[in-house]
């Protein structure tokens, strides 16, 4: 067999003075990096298979381990980066499309980091969230332009019936991550946290495990091109239904759950054979145009008695504003837009890193376009794709989002270390795996607690920032770009974002 | 003398009596309890040999807990007669007690066969503190260069264990062709005998003492049936005990080898219970009636009798012979049916130079276990026998190196690891 030219990506440094050969690292590595030699009573490491997940480093009781990026010995070359070389070797050896997990890791501008928030000084008091209510409750769904009301009654009687709404206690939801791509315990953590917080998690295209029907009131179920796991009970169980057209990590292509992750339980949930790859087609084969989407939206509304909002998720692509407008006109109650930094369990690396546009620009354009067309109220706007902090969220709200989806951030809260190997099914943190030896590493009680804590923390920060702006209700910030200023952006970028330059007054 | 009235009368206050009193107190805080013991206090019988061997400095048994029991202890209270018609018990001292409920827990008495010369000074039994004290005093004056122990069963070995610590030469005389024949199988005996040999013990099998010879009323040696002569001025007869029931003749209590009790530890006379080495119960495995004179069964029977005397209705699942012996470098554990009769038994064994483990299965259930040296999981096996857990499906794992609770059926295991209450 020809020698592989691939070189280890990581270096495992073991401090022999600290190592007690307790073998915790050996037991925790699903990639067999650490090996115990009984004769020598020593643990050795072989770096070739290390993915840099840091599981061993975290659990080592004597802190004897360090895993660092290995400096490749090749002559530095600005054009032929180490990553390019690795990929070339790998493809020359395998002849296949390179797969990866998580979101785009390329160095494109992150506009959140070029947007600054406002605060009150003198002319307008800031509001102290410890002493005054600051409201961040959010409703998703179509809003009426006008309420036909019989004002003679006391209280007045509404003649207009409100469209179905999702009530969120925080403007943060958990992105679509299917049971299959993530473990039962990971999904359970998300669902329980969503329920406790009063928000929603999204089933992804993974169907709904029977255990999770219990959380249906806090779950948005997805209907995607593979239609995995979709049946009437599934639609009925959920709080809302989302038609997935595209995903930020892989716009234009379908989904792929490697067979390694199709365990018996996943197979039952998805209604596919154990061990078979679950491949969702690139398009929905019943949606070849916007009219077809309208038919599907209507069909789902009909199937759910017009009781549930229907969301349509699209990837942020060049013409996203016009597409979103069409989606709203097709009857979507919620439009979810996923930017280029959106995560995935498995995607071709070349697509993930090169297709789509940043969500900040997409959001600004979609919101503006819908307002210009006078249809902004007809759908809520949920954005996703690389939201990292409460400040990203509050900036998204100010740009015009009703709420955000967080995926990667939630997984990181659960322990993900972004090793990008979700597609292998060997997640050492028990998140993106179905291996029962690994899945139990995520205790859903801990997972839920951490997610709840994260959302509490972010809520508190959002309230602090809102209070600082002198705003005590989130709706007063939503689309209120006067509270944003741009630094280090070109005029063109500022125009696209609809944000003035830092230094400009009102 | 007038009668002393009591709600509960415990006749004998060794381990069965002690745990009976405790069980009564769990249910009845106030009812009067009188406990009779012919000894001077409450002691732990197994410690007698350890005390002799200087391994413990007291034979006291949990006297620290006595206060909580709130009972009236009558030392030197040897029962003489139980009236046939009345709930009245008369002591050798003439005192009499009228009770509502009684526990007979008078234990066992050593068996001493009618060997000529058995009464001479220097021939002892070793089951009571008094025996132990006598031996100690005897040894103070006459340095025994040889101790002859008659009996190679459990009691004989315990006795041997005690003397080994004292640095004397020990000869063990056993009538059967191997030691500990009731507790272990032939291979078990082999490991034991090897260990004793290494420890310098002399073992004479298929032989017994035909006469204790004496000089001036003091033992000078033991003449064996084979004609062999074992000089020495100290001998211990340790061939076993039998239930102490003679005083119950004529009391209307049904007697077999011991006091015959039902599954509630109650004798044929309502309100009168029996437990411990004096009680004849059904064997958990064979269903045969017999007296199983071991500590754990005494505890269980005492507790159940106590519960039932105080108004509960618990039943005893049956007796299981369990025992453990450590002599020299060998430790043995035995439980249940270790020498089963011919029939449908299955045996699982592992053998190594210094260890031996044997499990006896019948119809997929564990019924007996012998462990030599590797005894750590003894309790697990014994509980499988007690709880009658079908082991068929995981029998291949029972003797694996890392066998543990994890190999057991989840339901059984979870019940145990909850720990709230272990069924005994």
């Amino acid at each position: 067999m020809a020698k592989s030219l691939l070189f280890p990506e990581f270096k495992v440094v073991r401090d022999e003075n600290r190592c007690i050969a307790c073998q915790v690292c050996v037991r925790q590595c699903a990639n067999d990096v650490h090996i115990y030699d009984e004769e020598d009573d020593q643990v050795y490491s072989q770096e070739e298979t290390c993915v840099g997940c840091q599981r061993c480093v975290t659990l080592c009781p004597t802190r004897a381990l360090e895993v660092t990026k290995k400096e490749a010995g090749m002559r530095p070359n600005a054009n032929w980066s180490i990553n390019h070389l690795r990929n070339l070797y790998k493809q020359a050896e395998t002849g296949g499309v390179l797969l990866t997990g998580m979101g785009c890791s390329e160095d494109y501008p992150i506009y959140w980091d070029h947007l600054l928030l406002n605060a009150s000084q003198v002319t307008n008091p800031s509001i102290d969230p410890l002493r005054e209510p600051i409201e961040i409750k959010t409703f998703l769904g179509r809003k009426e332009e006008f309420l036909d009301t019989d004002w003679e009654e006391e209280p007045p009687v509404l003649k207009t019936q409100l469209a179905p709404q999702l009530e969120l206690s925080v403007p943060i939801m958990f992105s679509a991550m299917s049971y299959g791509s993530i473990s039962y315990n990971a999904f359970r953590s998300l669902a329980e946290a969503a329920q406790e917080i009063g928000t929603f998690c999204n089933s992804g295209e993974g169907g709904l495990h029977p255990d999770f029907y219990l959380f249906g009131g806090n779950i948005i179920v997805q209907v995607a091109s593979g239609r995995f796991g979709v049946h009437p009970g599934y639609l009925r169980a959920a709080a809302a239904v989302e038609i997935k057209i595209g995903q930020g990590a892989k716009p234009g292509i379908g989904g792929h759950l490697p067979g390694e992750k199709v365990s018996p339980d996943v197979s039952r949930t998805r209604k596919i054979p154990v061990g078979s790859d679950a491949i969702s087609p690139a398009p929905h084969h019943d949606i070849y145009s916007i009219e077809d989407l309208e038919r599907l939206i209507l069909a789902i509304k009909e199937a759910t008695n017009y009781k549930k909002p229907v969301s349509v998720k699209i990837a942020a692509v060049h013409n996203v504003a016009a597409i979103a407008s069409g989606v709203v006109r097709a009857g979507a109650d919620i439009v979810a837009i996923d930017g280029i930094r959106g995560g995935t369990g498995a995607a071709p690396q070349v697509i993930r890193d090169n297709v789509g546009i940043p969500i900040e620009l997409a959001l600004a354009q979609v919101d503006e376009r819908l307002r210009r067309e006078g249809i902004r109220h007809r759908a809520s706007l949920v954005i996703a794709g690389g939201i990292r902090s409460s400040s990203d969220i509050i900036k998204a709200i100010a740009l015009g989002a009703d709420a955000v989806y967080i995926g990667t951030a939630a997984l990181v809260a659960l322990g993900c270390h972004l090793c990008q190997k979700c597609y292998t099914g060997k997640c050492n943190w028990g998140i993106a795996t179905q291996d029962p030896y690994l899945t139990k590493r995520l205790n859903p009680n801990i997972g839920k607690r951490r997610l709840v804590a994260l959302l509490h923390a972010w809520s508190a920060e959002i309230k602090e920032m809102l209070g600082g702006m002198g705003v005590n209700a989130l709706e007063s910030l939503r689309g209120n770009r006067e509270h944003l200023r741009a630094v280090g952006l070109s005029r063109e970028e500022r125009e696209i974002l609809g944000v003035k330059a830092a230094g400009e007054g009102w | 003398m007038s009668d002393i009235k009591t709600r509960y009368l415990l006749v004998g206050f060794s381990v069965a009596g002690w745990w009976c009193a405790r069980a009564i107190r769990e249910r009845d805080r106030n009812g009067k309890i009188v406990a009779l013991t012919k000894e001077n206090g409450v002691y732990s019988p197994p410690l007698i040999t350890y005390y002799l061997g200087n391994k413990v400095s007291t034979i006291d048994y949990r006297s620290g807990w006595m206060e909580n029991l709130d009972l009236e202890l009558v030392p030197g209270g040897e029962a003489k007669k139980l009236e046939r018609e009345n709930n009245r018990l008369i002591l050798a001292s003439g005192e009499s007690f009228v009770f509502e409920k009684a526990l007979i827990a008078t234990g066992g008495l050593p068996i001493v066969p009618p060997i000529p010369g058995r009464e001479v000074t220097g021939v002892f039994t070793l089951t009571t503190p008094r025996d132990m004290q006598e031996i100690r005093e005897f040894m103070k004056f006459q340095e025994g260069e040889r101790v002859t122990i008659l009996g190679g069963g459990f009691i004989g070995l315990k006795t041997a264990e005690a003397f080994m610590e004292l640095g004397v030469k020990i000869t063990l005389v056993e009538l059967a062709n191997r030691l500990l024949q009731n507790m272990v199988d032939e291979r078990g005996s082999y490991y034991l005998e090897k260990a004793l040999e290494r420890a310098g013990l002399e073992v004479i099998k298929e032989d017994t003492v035909s006469e204790f010879q004496s000089r001036e009323g003091k033992l000078s040696g033991a003449l064996l049936q084979s004609g062999k002569y074992l000089p020495g001025n100290l001998a211990v007869v340790a061939i076993g005990v039998h239930p102490n029931i003679d005083w119950l003749q004529g009391s209307g209590i049904e007697l077999g080898r011991g006091v015959i009790v039902d599954e509630f530890q109650e004798s044929k006379r309502a309100g009168i219970f029996a437990a411990g080495d004096v009680a004849e119960t059904k064997n958990l495995i064979t269903g045969e009636r017999n007296v199983v004179a071991v500590w754990p069964e005494a505890v269980k029977q005492g507790k159940i009798a106590g519960e039932n005397m105080a108004g509960n209705r618990l039943s005893y699942p049956g007796s299981l012979p369990v025992n453990t012996v450590s002599v020299g470098e060998v430790t043995l554990v035995s439980a249940g049916l270790v020498n089963p009769p011919a029939g449908d038994f299955e045996f699982l064994t592992t053998v190594s130079d210094d260890s031996y483990r044997k499990l006896v299965l019948k119809d997929g259930y564990l019924v007996g276990v012998i462990l030599v040296n590797r005894i750590e999981k003894a309790g697990v096996y014994i509980n499988l026998i007690r709880q009658k857990v079908k082991v068929e499906s995981f029998k291949d794992r029972l003797l694996k190196e890392d066998f543990g609770m994890i190999n057991l059926p989840a339901e059984y295991r979870k019940h145990l690891v909850e720990g709230a209450s272990i069924e005994v």
Partner: protein, 144 residues
């Protein structure tokens, strides 16, 4: 009483409980020294049992009706008034192994040299939370 509860579905088999227990009951109390400087190495009083992908850490349950305690002829096994833990007084222990024979969980270990009970969970006397619980990275053990 407070007990260590086992959540076997979350035991990840890392054995950090054993490691921390060993250190807690070592002479130095320091992890590297306990493993590399102390002879003989102390024994953990908790054991991780494994079968397939299933595992759990098992230590004495401190049963209400503790058979080891009932069957101990010397009273070496006793129940601590304060914590309700079943503890072994090594001064009283004579190494008769009645406790081992009685324990349905097989969690009592013996020290062959001293012929004493060597490895019996003591709920880390003096600690608010036993170290196996405190150091379980996945809360597979709980003290409640």
């Amino acid at each position: 009483m407070k007990r260590i509860r086992i959540h076997e579905e979350y035991c990840i088999g890392c054995r950090l409980c054993e490691i921390n227990c060993l250190v807690k009951h070592s002479r130095s109390g320091k992890i590297i020294k306990a493993f590399r400087g102390e002879e003989p190495r102390s024994l953990p009083r908790v054991r991780v049992e494994e079968e397939g992908y299933l595992s759990f850490a098992l230590q004495c349950r401190h049963c209400d009706d503790a058979p080891c305690l009932e069957n101990c002829p010397t009273g070496a096994m006793y129940r601590d008034e304060e914590t309700q833990a079943v503890l072994c007084d090594e001064d009283k222990c004579i190494g008769c192994w009645m406790c081992i024979m009685s324990c349905p969980l097989g969690v009592i270990q013996r020290e062959r040299k001293t012929k004493k009970v060597a490895s019996k969970c003591d709920l880390c006397r003096g600690e608010e939370i036993p170290v196996c619980v405190k150091n379980c990275p996945n809360e597979a053990l709980a003290y409640e």
